[in-house]
């Protein structure tokens, strides 16, 4: 049986990027105007959202995006 | 993390460094390696005073006293032939076991002491060697025995001063000395659960002329164990004698419980490590207990 993969020592397809410090992880992605999201969990179980007051985020929150 | 810091100073003289420390008050911090300052992440810090340009990285001997500059790193201590030859190399051992190489390359002896942690590994061999520290204030310097330097966890004798030098007297000659440093941690690079430095000086008949036992991480400050030392002084270091001294060590420590270990475990391990250390010292000094 001719095999091209089985039993061969193969390098990972992204291997070179990993050993040379290439941008491979989420935090390595830098785009202009990048937004950072933060999850605010509800302190109440099974509650229904009536209104969201984002004023204490100091004007830096955009959205909220649901 | 430190976006409130508004100044990073690199003074060229100790006087200037102390002046900046005074000027900054409680919001100024000394930076040598920087590892403690950054980890502690105190948001009230406004100015940083970098003391690495003050020429305080050295290891010298004058007469019978070794003087080590405060910004000498753990890696430098570990690699120094002189420190490896001093008292069986116990200070070099403490520096080598101090943490991973990345930290040993930047963390300094002065910083480890000034941080005032009860678990400061380098304090333990230094206490066993009756070391003292030189503190530079605005107008004068003073020399404080290390045994008086540590006051409480995180609190030292520093009063708006810079720790500039550590002085280590060569151990008294005569007879044969055996020295060792042992550390117990959850991993090799962990902060100590218990650390012990011990030295035994035996005369030609195998009687103990001098015993030194120092411990870290088992009391509010790094400590000596004088009552245990007294049990050995003037006696032959037999297994029974050593065991008696270790029992005393275990009684005399006052460990706390924390995330790393319960107090009782530390107390028991203090005795165990002291025993191993003392037997090792006796062996080195030519007697098998």
């Amino acid at each position: 049986m001719n095999t091209s993969v089985v039993g061969k020592n193969l390098r990972k397809v992204d291997g070179v990027k990993l050993v040379t410090g290439g941008a491979a992880f989420t935090d390595d992605v830098q785009l202009p105007g990048l937004l950072y999201g933060k999850i605010l969990p509800s302190p109440h179980a099974h509650a229904r959202i009536v209104r969201i007051d984002a004023s204490s985020a100091g004007g830096r929150a955009r959205g909220p995006y649901l | 993390m430190f976006d409130q810091v508004d100044a990073y100073h690199r003074p060229r003289s100790i006087r200037e460094a102390v002046r900046l420390l005074h000027a900054g008050g409680s919001r100024a911090r000394i930076v040598a390696g920087g590892t403690d300052v950054i980890v502690q992440s105190d948001p009230s810090i406004r100015s940083l005073v970098d003391i690495t340009q003050l020429g305080l990285s050295y290891i010298r001997k004058a007469g019978n006293v070794w003087s080590i500059g405060a910004t000498t790193t753990m890696a430098e201590l570990e690699d120094s032939a002189a420190i490896r030859g001093l008292a069986g190399g116990i200070l070099a051992m403490a520096a080598a076991a101090w943490g991973p190489v990345q930290l040993r390359n930047v963390s300094t002896l002065g910083g480890n002491l000034a941080n005032g942690s009860p678990a400061a590994d380098t304090a333990v061999p230094l206490l066993a060697l009756d070391a003292s520290v030189v503190l530079a204030g605005a107008s004068k310097r003073r020399r404080v025995p290390l045994a008086e330097f540590f006051r409480a966890p995180g609190k030292t004798a520093l009063a708006k001063e810079l720790l500039v030098e550590i002085l280590v007297p060569a151990p008294p000659g005569g007879g044969r000395w055996g020295w060792t440093f042992l550390k117990l941690g959850r991993t090799e690079s962990d902060i100590s659960l218990v650390s012990v430095a011990a030295g035994l000086q035996l005369d030609a008949r195998g009687t103990c002329k001098s015993a030194r036992i120092a411990l870290g991480a088992v009391a509010p400050v790094p400590m000596r164990a004088p009552a245990a030392e007294a049990i050995l002084a003037g006696q032959k270091p037999t297994r029974a004698r050593i065991a008696e001294a270790c029992e005393r060590v275990a009684r005399d420590v006052s460990p706390i419980a924390d995330v790393r270990a319960p107090a009782e475990y530390r107390r028991e391990m203090a005795g165990v490590l002291a025993g191993r250390a003392l037997r090792e010292c006796a062996q080195q000094a030519g007697v098998t207990p």
Partner: protein, 158 residues
């Protein structure tokens, strides 16, 4: 709050950067595009942020950028020579020493510092030198193997 200028060498290239006094080296490096230094524990335990300063491994998360003024840095991006990978990088690839790869830059740099100082380390010495590089994927066996293999290649090349 006044900005500072630091002048340093990164991967043999002179750099001049404007920083805030409290900036950490890790943040500045990543801001300047050196993403190989990773943000891991941010307290000097995991070693994912390791870079070499004058050949010595340090945790860039525990260094103020201002401390790098006048220094020579090597990051993982500077290890390969163009397309030619360093034997350590080759060995990590060939021995399966990278899984997710997050710890890899730090490990390779720590290993490089070791091999530059000690060209024929024992396994124990390799493990000791890499004590400050944590890996959640590989269990350390393959990285240690890779370092020992790379050491052989380095020695043959001398």
């Amino acid at each position: 709050m006044k900005k500072l200028t630091i002048r340093l060498t990164v991967n043999a290239e002179p750099k001049e950067w404007s920083i805030a006094p409290g900036d950490l080296l890790l943040d500045v490096l990543r801001h300047e595009g050196y993403f190989g230094a990773k943000r891991g524990c941010e307290k000097g335990e995991c070693g994912a942020c390791t870079v070499l300063v004058e050949g010595k491994p340090i945790n860039s998360c525990l260094m103020f950028a201002a401390q790098a003024d006048g220094r020579e840095l090597l990051t993982i991006e500077g290890l390969a020579h163009g397309d030619r990978l360093d034997p350590l990088q080759e060995a990590f690839l060939d021995h399966g020493a990278s899984q997710c790869g997050f710890c890899t830059p730090g490990m390779i740099l720590a290993a490089k510092a070791l091999l530059d100082k000690n060209p024929d380390p024992s396994e124990r010495e390799v493990r000791e030198a890499m004590t400050g590089n944590y890996c959640r994927c590989t269990g350390y066996v393959k990285p240690v193997e890779a370092v020992l293999a790379a050491a052989k290649v380095y020695r043959r090349a001398r």
